[in-house]
Assembly symmetry: C2
């Protein structure tokens, strides 16, 4: 991801200096200046973008160079929790740095393209000052002054993505024993998933209104009745049921607590601990 970010910044004409945790894996880009130390990289530019495995690795990398942060804008794109983002904003302010927290909703090959959504939160003026630079990476969105809100959306959107991947993997697992290829299945699954996106919006509208009794399209009790077939088919095809058990548990509890005639959005009513 570091290589992809550096490539996108330089491609957009921004002089870019890179420090890489593992020197051998530094991006092979002649347009990027390399430094031996984090301190040199921070000094090279008023905008410091951090993209590492997680917050602990980021703190470790910045240790010893904190005194160079004063006056810079630190943008942390590591995956983390909202609480970690807020704590790092306080830490950065203590060292005299402006701080934005961000999340990259893309895999490296998407960086620089229009589908690469990047999320930011923190002081809106700081975001505005660097918005054009962030545009080199993809489509930048500012979600709020609370430094934690980008991380919250990052984790929420990635959860949505992992759900889609889990469904895909279970589906592929089911058909493979019959000699059906994953790419063959995708010719049906991709249009199916696209066709079902409006159903997510329908569920979102029911959740927001709290009205689960109007415009019901597929009652949970009926959906739950089919789940025995899902587990039987998983067993018959020799695959583990793990990727289905979570939603089955919530569906069972939602039906048991009176949501049998409601659509799947009503599962949100039993998701709280």
């Amino acid at each position: 991801m570091g290589s992809a970010l550096a490539r996108a910044f330089t491609a957009a004409g921004h002089p870019t200096t890179a420090w890489n945790r593992t020197p051998g894996r530094a991006p092979d880009l002649t347009t990027v200046t390399r430094t031996e130390t984090v301190a040199e990289a921070i000094e090279a530019s008023p905008l410091v973008v951090v993209c590492l495995l997680h917050y602990d690795v980021a703190y470790e990398a910045l240790r010893g160079a904190e005194d160079r942060l004063a006056g810079t804008t630190l943008v942390n794109l590591c995956n983390g929790t909202p609480a970690q983002a807020r704590a790092m904003a306080t830490w950065a302010a203590g060292h005299g740095a402006r701080y934005l927290d961000g999340g990259i909703m893309a895999v490296p090959p998407m960086i620089g393209g229009p589908d690469a959504m990047t999320l930011y939160s923190g002081d809106p003026e700081v975001f505005a000052a660097h918005r054009d630079t962030f545009g080199a990476l993809g489509t930048p969105l500012h979600l709020g002054a609370d430094p934690g809100v980008a991380a919250l959306h990052d984790i929420a959107l990635l959860s949505g993505m992992y759900g889609m991947f889990a469904g895909f993997l279970h589906a592929v697992g089911l058909v493979r024993p019959d000699g059906i290829k994953a790419t063959e299945l995708m010719t049906l699954l991709e249009p199916m998933l696209r066709a079902m996106l409006p159903s997510l919006t329908h569920a979102a509208e029911q959740i927001d209104s709290g009205d689960y009794d109007s415009n019901v399209t597929s009652p949970l009790a009926m959906q739950l009745a089919a789940f025995g077939n899902f587990f039987d088919t998983a067993r018959d095809q020799g695959i583990r049921p793990d990727l289905l058990t979570g939603i089955h548990t919530l569906m069972s509890e939602a039906v048991a607590s009176g949501h049998g005639n409601h659509d799947i959005g009503a599962l949100i009513e039993v998701i709280n601990v």
Copy 2:
């Protein structure tokens, strides 16, 4: 769903006779002929379409009317397992009926529209004879002569859909405590999911080739390192982790068994029992 099917058939100009399990819930369509008994409904038409909760309900409804099935084409659209579909094909043949098994990959409001994919399997000549009639419901696809293959795809595609719903629900659950509406989140989640569809194809290609070492975009060990943040955020926001645990379990096992440098498609290598 029965109402939606009857409405679509009559809208396409096909004389339609309906028997409904619960008389009070019969479709309120003046263009549909009603019968008091299943036997009368079967006698009314050479094509008999069954859409009930599951196979047991279908057998129960047809009980006593089996002798009317000879010479008809029975199309069963109930949700069921491949094994149930094959057993009903044998049962129908025993009563002198042609048999197609099918699955409707749509919710009722989609029926009749171009996004309503309907899957069929069984004798290809029988499918060809009724293909135009099936076209009234949506886009009909014939998947093979094995009567079980439509049910297999039905369950696989619905599993994919449930994964997408599970991800959506977890994402909404995370942001709601901060006062963010589900429809607001959807303005980000929908483009995110659309943008990630090519990643499913990428995973499918890796799965089909068995080559997980080329074109790696997001190594599992790195993804797994972020999962602590997912569970911490679920806890901080007060929601249950159920919808994430399945994929986390498989991801942990895939990394432990040597797939740490591979993309998420490698999870298919640990999905078998």
